[in-house]
Symmetry: C2
C-alpha cells in the first residue's frame, strides 16, 4: 500500500536549511525531524510503514536484537546537486544487500521497492537536513531487527524496519591520507560467519582493536582473514583497493608492495591510504592530487553533484513531484 | 547508593502466586511485574539503578546495540526450596562473566555487588512469579548494552544495564535425551572472536543452522571449532560433557566413542544426550536413570531445592529481611 502524501511532514519551507553550521559538520550522530517505521509479525510480510517524528524506539527488554544480536544495518547517502536536485546513488543495491543479510539472520525483509520508497520518504521528510552541495551529505541509516521478545526457542514474533538520517561531513579526518594499522591479533570475519552481510554482529566485536589503534594515532584498522591470517580483508567500515591489482585474494606482501592504496565506502567515499603499519613496521604509499584515488573521488563526487552525466543509471532523483503521486 | 525499601513494589501477598498454569510452563518469554534499570554515561561508572514496572525499553534508533551489536546477556535462576526459601546459585560468577564480556566489547560494567543486588531486587519484586518447588524456576536475564547513539566513531555516550525475569520450565523438551546434529558447515566461535564471552553477537549468526536442525527433528546443534573443524565446542546454549574425559580439546572421534554424553547450562540444567548425527551418521549413547547425568541432575536439583546441604557456599538466600536493610 502506498503512503498518502499528507503523511509526509514537510519542512516550513522546502528550500530552507536546518539550523546547522555546515562548515563544521563531522561524521557523527545528529537528531533530525522524521523517521520511517514498519513492523512485521512472524509469518507475515512487511507492509508499507509510515513516516513518524524522530523518536526513541520502544522495544521489549527480551527482544531478539537486544539479547541475541539479530540485526542488520545499511548506509547510503542523499546528495544535493549543484543544480538543486536531490539524488540517491544505487539505493536498490542497498536493498538487495539487506535482503541477503536478512536471509542469513533468519528475518523477513522489505521488498526492493519498499526499501527504496522508505529511503525516499525519509529524505523528503528531512529535506532541510541535506547539506548544501559540497558541504556534506545526508547519511541514511536503514536498520532491520528482531524486535519481538524471545527466550529459548525461535521464532521471533516481530521484526522492525526503521530508516533514519543524519547530515554528515567527512568520515575520515586525515586529509593527507589514512595511516592504517594492520591488525595481527583480532580477526573479524571467518568462513561460514556473517562477514558477507551487514550484520550488527560484525562491528562491536572489533571496536576493541579500533579503539586501541585510534589511541595510538592510527586512522583506522585493516583486518586480515581469520582462516589464514595472511590476506587483506577490509577496514572497519570500508573496502580496500590496491592500484593495479584485480579483484582477488591479496596477501599482505602484495599490499606492502603496492604503489598506491585507497579505501572506499558510502561513508569513506574514496580515501587515500598514506601508510600501513604491520608488526610495528610502517610502509608508505603515494598520496596527493596525482593518485588514482583522487581521480576516482573527483569523478564519483561529480556524478553525485550532477556535474557529470550518469551514464550507468546509478543516480535516482527525488523530486517534489514524486511526493504526491508516490510510486516514489 | 543502596536503594530504599519503599522502591521495591511488593506483590499483593508475598505468599501468593501469579496466575500461571505452572504444570504447563515451558521455556519461553512471559511478562512479569518489575524490572531493574541502571544507566551510565561514557567515562562514568554505574550507580545504583532502580526497580521499575516491567515495560518496553526506550532506545535511540542510532544506539550502539541496534546498529553495531554492542550487547551482552547473562542468565541465572532463582529457586524456591521445599522449605519455602528463595535462593540463587553462584550469582557472583555471572557478575564476573559479564565484567569480562564488557571489557571485550568496550563497555563499563556494574560491580559484582551491584549486579547481585540488582538480581536480588528483581527476584523480590517478582516473587509471585517464582514457580512452586519442582514446577520450574524464575529465569533471570541481565542485559548490558550500548544504548547511546553512535555514528562513525567511538565512544558510545551511554550504556544501560537491565535485569528482568520470567518463570520457566524445561528448556529441552526431549525427556529421553537429546538428539543432536553435529554442525559441519557453520562455525560459531573463532580465535580472537567473542566466543569466550556472552556477547549477543554469538547467537543470531547461528540461528540459521539451529532452525534447520530443529526443522529436521533434532533437539539441538553441536558446534565444532572454527580453527580446525575437528573439535567439539558446545551446543546452542549449553556446554557439552563426555563421561570420563578431563577438561581438554575433544576431537569428534572421542565424542563418537563415548559411553555417555550430556550438556549443562543454567537453562539446560544437566541433560542427557541420546544421540549425535554427524554427516548423516547417527551415534547413540547411554540414557536413563543409571547415567551420571541423571545423578548430577538429581544432586544439583537437590542443592537448588534445599534437600541437600550446600557445602561449597554456592547458594545465596533471599529473605524478606534482606529487603528493608538492603546490603542485599
Ligand atoms: C565492514 C564494511 N566494509 C565495507 C563497507 C563499505 O560498504 P559501502 O560501500 O556499501 O558503504 C562498509 C560500510 O559501512 C562496512 O561497514
Ligand atoms: C553458548 C552458551 N554456552 C554455554 C552456556 C551455559 O552457560 P551457563 O552454565 O552459565 O548457563 C550458555 C548459556 O546460556 C550459552 O549460551
Amino acid at each position: 500500500m502506498a503512503p498518502s502524501a499528507q503523511s509526509l511532514p514537510t519542512s516550513v519551507s522546502d528550500e530552507k536549511y536546518a539550523n546547522v553550521k555546515w562548515e563544521e559538520l563531522g561524521f557523527g550522530f545528529c537528531r533530525t525531524d522524521n523517521m520511517y517505521v514498519a513492523k512485521c509479525k512472524h509469518g507475515e510480510s512487511f507492509q508499507e510503514g509510515k513516516i513518524v517524528p524522530y523518536a526513541d524506539i520502544q522495544i521489549s527488554p527480551c527482544s531478539a536484537v537486544l539479547n541475541y544480536g539479530q540485526g542488520l544495518y545499511e548506509g547510503l547517502k542523499a546528495y544535493r546537486t549543484e543544480d538543486g536536485r536531490i539524488v540517491l546513488f544505487r539505493p536498490d543495491q542497498n536493498a538487495l544487500r539487506l535482503q541477503s543479510g536478512a536471509n542469513r539472520l533468519c528475518m523477513p525483509y522489505p521488498t526492493v521497492d519498499q526499501f527504496v520508497s522508505a529511503v525516499k520518504q525519509v529524505v523528503l521528510a528531512n529535506k532541510k537536513w541535506i547539506p548544501p552541495p559540497g558541504r556534506g551529505t545526508l547519511y541514511i541509516r536503514p536498520i532491520l531487527f528482531g524486535s519481538g521478545p524471545i527466550l529459548g526457542s525461535l521464532p521471533v514474533p516481530e521484526y522492525t524496519f526503521t530508516v533514519f538520517a543524519c547530515p554528515v561531513g567527512r568520515y575520515h579526518k586525515d586529509n593527507a591520507g589514512l595511516n592504517l594499522k594492520i591488525e595481527d591479533k583480532f580477526r573479524r570475519a571467518f568462513p561460514s560467519g556473517t562477514g558477507g552481510v551487514k550484520s550488527i554482529t560484525n562491528y562491536s566485536p572489533v571496536w576493541i582493536t579500533l579503539a586501541e589503534a585510534k589511541a595510538k594515532g592510527f586512522s583506522d584498522v585493516l583486518f586480515l582473514d581469520a582462516a589464514t591470517g595472511k590476506n587483506v580483508e577490509e577496514l572497519f567500515a570500508s573496502n580496500v583497493f590496491i592500484v593495479k591489482v584485480e579483484e582477488r585474494v591479496v596477501p599482505v606482501e602484495d599490499l606492502l608492495d603496492a604503489e598506491e592504496v585507497f579505501c572506499t565506502g558510502t561513508a569513506a567515499i574514496v580515501t587515500t591510504i598514506a601508510s600501513v603499519t604491520f608488526k610495528e613496521k610502517k610502509t608508505e604509499f603515494k598520496t596527493g592530487d596525482k593518485t588514482l584515488a583522487a581521480k576516482l573521488f573527483a569523478t564519483l563526487t561529480d556524478i553525485h553533484m550532477g556535474r557529470v552525466e550518469d551514464k550507468k543509471g546509478w543516480i535516482v532523483e527525488l523530486t517534489d513531484a514524486t511526493k504526491p503521486g508516490l510510486k516514489l
